[in-house]
């Protein structure tokens, strides 16, 4: 009983119950519930900042699929975070157009001013700095994306 209560609390930290219910309802009426895996992982990430193991389990349980089927999807995408990140993830483009116009200096500057290296999170848990491939903003290079905003 106590375990059940604890479990529920953990799950609502990952995603509000009404969203879980809404995914469950959708999964019940579509022919291929697997197609919601990425959507649900993204929903958990937008609520919880990243997807812990429990997030994988919650996704599997909600959609009625196997945890391994969720995990093999979650680990493929670079924008699904399976490790803790800061509240704001800064993606700095290091592809050709940004590189040709000085992106390395921007990365350098951000590392210095945040006091972290690429792949790290600031001690206060606010920013994570990650490299990314081309963001599709080549005309406005150099580009970076903070959260979902380019």
């Amino acid at each position: 009983m106590a375990r059940g209560v604890k479990k529920l609390k953990v799950m609502t930290e990952l995603l509000p119950q009404e969203q879980v219910d809404s995914f469950k309802a959708k999964a019940a009426v579509i022919a291929h519930p697997h197609e919601l895996i990425v959507d649900l992982l993204r929903a958990i990430q937008s609520h919880h900042d990243w997807v812990p193991d429990d997030g994988v389990l919650l996704t599997a349980e909600t959609l009625g699929v196997l945890p391994i089927e969720v995990e093999e999807v979650a680990t493929f995408y670079d924008k699904i975070f399976r490790r803790a990140v800061g509240r704001r993830v800064i993606h700095v483009c290091d592809s050709i157009c940004c590189w040709s116009i000085g992106a390395e200096m921007i990365t350098e500057h951000l590392q210095k001013s945040l006091g972290i290296k690429l792949g790290e999170t600031t001690a206060d848990g606010v920013f994570t700095l990650l490299p990314t491939c081309c963001l599709g903003a080549c005309g406005e290079a150099p580009a970076m994306m903070i959260g979902l905003t380019i």
Binding site: H34, E35, V73, F76, Y77, I96, C97, S100, G136
Partner: protein, 424 residues
């Protein structure tokens, strides 16, 4: 000023998105109206005769692709719009969707009718949240106005469109990998055959087209094949193309230009010339996987066939320009790092071969390279080409091969001097 006819960008204004009433006023959804009065086969034939070639990079004739589709086969059939657009240097689809997203929806409704594939997915990359929001709003508008949904424009034909937001990785732009992604499986590519037209999404016939390709279709329906053919400057080609300029240019912007415009005009007239008054050294003509063009190619027509004749490709027409002070070994190293990182790891030539090339280019760029490294680089290219599971590694070889073909002296200079000559 861009004096060329504007088709896809005719309503484009900076920072604004065209809503349904304005789109209708500018002739929007007239192409769909026309299509619904024709038979599906007639629509396919018109697109085929128009000479439209895929705008997503491969340049495959759209009408021929459609003609392979088993539209009369009973059961579920799907239409998929590829909006992954993750090839470095390519940003035209984003510009199109931000400016005037209804063109894509109208094109998809026409394609759905022509192929008798009533369910469509619009696959958009993670970074394009701004596009996803605008496309979703446009879908709502189009459903309310009867252009999408049940019984569109009273024709008895239904069109159902879904927006799928992806979560990163370049490989998803490969159509079979994209289908695995839509299905919610691990998005490694599938072997072909069977091609998506036979067994695609959920094992059913599926047609995959790029955003710009589908957005061009309504205009062909509305104005006809002769009009479309005459848009191109190259008499053997057809239509306009979105060119996304980037790199060392004064005006790195996105322009709609006729196919067949020369590279010189693109760089000097539209890109405003190389910045800092420097000389043009080379460019990627259409994204990171297209072999470089050099100064000797400036008077070539920017079009599919003319670029293939010089062992390059038009690709997505995302033109990235490099000035005379750019080290082409360093450029190739950056491009190859991208491909190596984005390799899905499924096949050995790609997973290990691209990593080896990265290692060799590192050695050469940082002055540790030898003649043996150059030999090994050529060896790697020969062994990767034609031996990878999908087109990713094949594309990655584009710039490496062009480096060896056009700039071998520069590689040798690195080896001889034991450092990068551009950093001295």
């Amino acid at each position: 000023m861009n004096a060329y006819p504007q088709v896809l960008f005719k309503n484009r204004r900076p920072g604004e998105t065209v809503l349904l009433p304005e789109y209708e006023k500018s002739g929007g959804y007239q192409g769909l109206r026309k299509a619904l009065k024709m038979s599906p086969g007639e629509v396919c034939a018109l697109v085929k005769d128009s000479g439209l070639r895929g705008r997503g990079g491969a340049g495959f004739p759209t009408g021929i692709k459609w003609s392979f589709f088993p539209s009369s086969q009973p059961g579920d059939k799907y239409l998929v719009c590829n909006g992954d657009e993750m090839e470095p240097g390519t940003y035209k689809d984003r510009q199109l969707l931000l400016a005037d997203p209804h063109q894509l929806l109208e094109g998809m409704a026409i394609a759905a009718y022509a192929l008798q594939a009533p369910v469509g997915y619009i696959f958009l990359r993670y970074a394009y949240e701004d596009c996803s929001l605008r496309v979703e709003r446009a879908v709502k508008e189009a459903i309310a106005a009867g252009y999408l949904g049940k019984n569109i424009l009273g024709s008895g034909f239904d069109v159902e469109l879904h927006v799928h937001r992806s979560a990163g990785r370049y490989i998803l732009g490969e159509e079979t990998s994209l289908l695995n992604g839509l299905e919610g499986g691990r998005p490694n590519p599938r072997s072909k055959p069977p091609f998506p037209a036979q067994r695609g999404l959920f094992g059913r016939p599926t047609n995959v087209n790029n955003v710009e390709t589908l957005a061009t279709v309504p205009h062909i329906l509305a104005h006809g094949k002769v009009w479309f053919h005459n848009l191109a400057l190259n008499p053997e080609s057809a239509g306009t193309k979105l060119f996304g300029l980037s790199g060392h240019l004064n005006k790195p912007e996105c322009f709609e230009l006729p196919l067949g415009v020369t590279l010189r005009e693109v760089v000097d007239e539209f890109g405003g010339g190389v910045r800092g008054g420097k000389k043009f050294k080379a460019c990627l003509p259409g994204g990171a996987s297209t072999p470089y063009l050099a100064a000797e190619h400036l008077d070539l027509m920017m079009d599919f066939d003319p670029l293939e004749e010089v062992d390059s490709r038009l690709g997505t027409a995302g033109v990235t320009v490099f000035d005379e002070d750019t080290c082409m070994v360093a450029v190739t190293r950056n491009l190859n790092q991208f491909f190596a990182r984005e390799s899905c790891g499924w096949c050995t030539p790609c997973r290990d071969g691209l990593a080896t090339i990265s290692w060799l280019l590192d050695r050469i760029e940082f002055g540790r390279g030898t003649e043996d490294d150059l030999t090994m680089l050529k060896d790697q290219v020969r062994n990767i080409k034609g031996r990878s599971f999908c087109a990713l590694a094949e594309g990655a070889m584009g710039p490496v091969e062009a480096l060896l073909r056009l700039f071998e002296d520069e590689i040798k200079d690195h080896i001889r001097k034991g450092c990068c000559p551009f950093k001295q």
